[in-house]
Amino acid sequence: MKHTIPLFTAIIIFSFVICFPGCSGAKMTMTATKLDYPVSTTQGIYDPNYKLLSEEDYESLGKFEFGISKWSMFWTLIPLTKDPDVSDKLNSIIKEKGGDAVVNLQIYTGTMQNGAVFVNFFSSVVPLLPGVAFATVSGDVVKVKK
């Protein structure tokens, strides 16, 4: 009986560590709720009269790319950073390039991105360590031809 509690505790801890990595990982929600310009994941955008524009109607001012991330711990139960709202970032990119809109927006994420896999490996074993989700947002800034 002397070893009952330590053994029981050890079993609980062992079960915890073995079972919970099954749902380990990292996640985030990306929004853009305060945009000043239209941002589309396709080639299509509308002009001020709601006429559908295509590639021939605008010129590209260049591509952009930036990263977003979210950190959390205890298998994402405790968020350490906020979910990213990319509105301000997109607004500043479009304004800086003098564009009217963004087209062909793409989002990329991967388990090996920025070494996230190793961070998440350790956080899955020891949930006190933070885990992270990375993603890359890219697109084309365009200006409508007059």
């Binding site: 994941t41 396709t42 994420t109 993603a135």
Partner: protein, 136 residues
């Protein structure tokens, strides 16, 4: 800190498994003509959809790629990336007046039980809208 051979072997093995089963996904919509927009800002000069615009329902879906040591995997980066189109076609069809607004994304990377594999996932959600003829 002294690291014994067994610890080193476990670390090397799990690193190898993670690299072997690494995966990634890209959300892109290549063949849709209509706008799929991240907000309700649909046109140039700060134009938003009129407040009386009727919603035509919601659109959602996911691009996903999974690889495990057991060999069960589904999806491929290229196929899944372009497959996002099919989620939007029922919503926008071929009508130039139809679009999707307020798109947002849930992005996740998961490690499987006993580190036997990985999964990358991008879920997306948006509102189907039709531009009112009175707006034109």
């Amino acid at each position: 800190m002294k690291i014994n051979n067994l610890t080193l072997q476990i670390l090397l093995f799990t690193s190898f498994v993670f690299i072997l089963t690494s995966c990634s996904v890209t959300f892109k919509t290549a063949n849709i003509k209509q706008p799929l927009l991240l907000s309700s800002r649909v046109g140039m000069n700060g134009i938003e959809l009129p407040s009386d615009t009727k919603s035509k329902g919601e659109v959602s879906g996911e691009v996903v790629f999974e690889r495990t040591l057991r060999g069960s995997s589904y999806g491929s980066e290229i196929e899944q990336a372009t497959n996002a189109d099919v989620n939007f076609l029922p919503c926008v069809g071929t009508d130039a007046n139809r679009c999707v607004t307020n798109l947002y994304f849930r992005i996740a990377n998961y490690q499987y039980w006993m580190f036997s594999g990985n999964k990358s996932l991008i879920e997306f959600y948006g509102d189907c809208k039709t531009i009112p003829q009175s707006s034109k």
